[in-house]
């Protein structure tokens, strides 16, 4: 349709992603029909608690969770128009680190403990970009400098254990961006770090993302981190996307009662000491024993009979989506 204000094709398009594991208690649907698009240069924050499926979803997109790990994976994943679901492990390896960079929560486990820092950063450049050892080593030092590591020449010759947690995460970021990927996936990148170091690492990630025009998926359980660093947010609960919207809309006028309850339960620095918190009753559901209704229903203030009987689908209205029969802040008739 020429002439219409259609947005350009997304960098990443995910349709009906499914991940299930077989467990002793039966099949467990860790991710249950999640769809989203990510445009070039944008940051999508994926927010959820442990067990919400946010990490498993993203790992399944890039082949880190799949047949090899005993998981059943379904749906369609288009990256620049190519379907990633059909790729062999070898084909995945040629994309990871070059077109898609990844930063994990714990740099101590994602870095190779017995390889010098400089060599780890240069590895992708040698294997994927055809640089010789000398050129790769030179580029590794430049990258260390870029991610804010002092004395980069000396640091390049060190091992991960000789660095602090913040420094190691900087190294992990240098590795992730070495081959200039179009998409950076950051899975709880600062959860293991102290608050002042967290701040520096988030500033670095955001700076690199903007300067290089990368798209970023930022996975976090911390609503504060997501608020400051994401263009859009997808809230996950019990394996499903329950709300998607521009970041400001999520925080200003959440539609999904779960999002609303989560925001209300947070202690605020602006509240007086000993202000009682609005706790959410109950706890997240056991994914292996799911009922047919809304997964948040048992904890929801607005639950009705319909919520127990039917699972609300993610409905998209005016640029945002929510999976609820009783959305907050909308006229009746716009419910899912």
């Amino acid at each position: 349709m020429s002439g219409s204000a259609k947005s350009p094709a997304p960098l990443l398009s995910v349709r009906n992603a499914q991940v299930s594991f077989s467990t002793a208690r039966g099949p467990l649907r860790a991710v249950d029909g999640v769809s989203f698009d990510l445009q070039e240069g944008r940051t999508l924050g994926i927010v959820g608690e442990s067990g919400s499926g946010k990490s498993v979803l993203v790992r399944s997109l890039i082949g880190l969770v799949g047949a090899g790990s005993g998981a059943g994976v379904g749906g369609e994943v288009l990256f620049e128009g190519r379907d990633l679901r059909g790729l062999s492990p070898r084909e995945f390896r040629s994309i990871l680190g070059t077109e898609i960079g990844i930063v994990f929560q714990d740099p101590m486990t994602s870095l190779n403990p017995v390889m010098k820092i400089g060599r780890q950063i240069g590895e992708g450049l040698r294997l994927n970009r055809g640089l010789d050892s000398k050129a790769a080593a030179r580029r590794a030092v430049e990258l260390l400098n870029e991610v804010g590591i002092p004395e980069p020449e000396r640091r390049a010759g060190q091992y991960p254990h000789e660095m602090s947690g913040g420094m190691r995460q900087r190294v992990a970021i240098a590795i992730a961006i070495a081959c200039a990927p179009k998409l950076l996936i950051a899975d709880e990148p600062t959860t293991a770090l102290d608050v002042t170091v967290q701040r520096q690492i988030l500033d670095l990630l955001q700076g690199e993302q903007r300067q290089r025009g990368m798209a970023m998926i930022l996975i976090t359980h911390d609503l504060g981190v997501a608020a400051g660093r994401s263009d859009d947010i997808m809230v996950m609960y019990a394996g499903r996307a329950v709300e998607t919207a521009a970041t400001r809309e999520i925080f200003r006028s959440p539609r999904m009662p779960y999002t609303e309850a989560l925001l209300r339960s947070l202690p605020r620095l602006s509240d007086a000491t000993h202000t009682r918190l609005s706790a959410i009753p109950g706890r997240p559901p056991d994914l292996a024993r799911r009922s047919g209704g809304c997964a948040f229903g048992p904890r929801c203030l607005y639950r009705t009979e319909r919520c127990d009987a039917e699972q609300p689908a993610l409905t998209r209205v005016a640029g945002r989506g929510y999976a609820c029969f009783h959305p907050r802040g909308v006229e009746s008739g716009e419910a899912a």
Partner: protein
């Protein structure tokens, strides 16, 4: 309010081989008033957990005094110290790891009673049931179950029940909610507040989440690399931090509101130094935007700048 606990010139050091030591806590003097919640904040390596363990004599500190209800615990040994223990209890960060996986919930909660010599089984059962009900666990449902059958939040309730069963005066809470899911944290924070009111507890609440600390604490102490930076009532500390490190911490907090601009920590680039080899003078000086030559030469003492406000800085931002 009188002091229930007074820590004086506390020093905790751990040997790491080669004659070197981790300077975990260096010359800390701090008091906790009867009935208050004192928040203790700091980043990893600040010594907040070492301080908590030293005051419970787990293990005893290298130097200094821990005066609890008029008695110096560091001078007590054996039976005398054991007799004090029921009055000081602790709740840990990881509720699942802190519970014995092979024991039933009722046994876990009854264990402190057994250890402290409550030999009447009917009396133990009565007290365990009462404390289960107090923390929101149904005794008939949980009695014979084991920790793995419970979520993290429920395990923290069990740990709180175990800490309460001896009717202590002081509970040290070491990061009690940071391992819990976001939607569960408020339940446990509210439970601790309720238990404090119901049992007249005094709490030392250690956490790195400043919003949680502000929510529960009457006063807050800030630690950095083993030393105290600042002690103040909660409202003044958060409204007008006096120590540059406190100010940096506040500016670094990710606020769950996209309309609040990111604060400027003003920190010099670089990571916190190692507690193996802390800087001379003020330990914060290597990252401090206001550092002067004096900060290298002289350790700033903790001094009062206003009633109830103490700061260890040569150039405080307030006062």
């Amino acid at each position: 309010m009188s002091d229930l606990l007074a820590i004086r010139n506390l020093v905790v050091e751990y040997p790491v081989g080669g004659g070197r030591h981790v300077h975990a806590v260096s010359d800390v003097t701090l008091s906790v008033k009867q009935g208050e919640t004192l928040g203790l904040v700091g980043e990893s390596g600040s010594g907040k957990s070492s301080l908590a363990r030293a005051l419970l004599q787990l293990p005893p500190p290298k130097a200094g005094a821990v005066v609890f209800d008029g008695k110096d615990l560091t001078q007590m040994r054996g039976q005398a110290l054991r007799a004090m223990r029921p009055r000081l209890q602790m709740i840990f960060q990881d509720p699942i790891a802190s519970l014995n996986p092979r024991r039933k919930v009722a046994e876990i909660i009854a264990e402190p009673l057994v250890v402290s010599g409550v030999s009447d089984a009917a009396e133990r059962t009565r007290r365990v049931r009462a404390v289960m009900e107090a923390v929101g666990l149904d005794p008939d449902l949980v009695w014979n179950r084991r920790p793995h059958e419970f979520s993290g939040g429920q395990c923290q309730r069990i740990a709180i029940a175990r800490a309460l069963v001896l009717e202590p005066s002081l509970i040290v809470c070491d990061e009690p909610v940071s391992a819990l899911d976001v939607s569960i944290r408020a339940q446990i924070v509210n439970l601790l507040e309720d238990m404090k009111a119901r049992f007249g507890l005094t709490l030392l609440f250690i956490a790195h989440d400043l919003a949680v600390v502000k929510s529960v604490s009457d006063r807050v102490a800030v630690m950095y690399l083993g030393r105290l930076c600042e002690v103040a009532d909660s409202d003044s500390l958060f409204a007008t931090p006096a120590h540059p490190y406190t100010a940096a911490l506040m500016a670094a907090i990710p606020v769950p509101d996209p309309d609040v601009p990111l604060g400027d920590t003003k920190l010099k680039p670089g990571d916190p130094p190692s507690p193996l080899d802390p800087p001379s003078g003020c330990r914060f000086r290597t990252r401090c935007p206001h550092a002067q030559p004096r900060c290298t030469d002289e350790v700033p003492p903790l001094r009062q700048i206003a009633p109830g406000r103490e700061v260890a800085c040569h150039f405080p931002l307030v006062g």
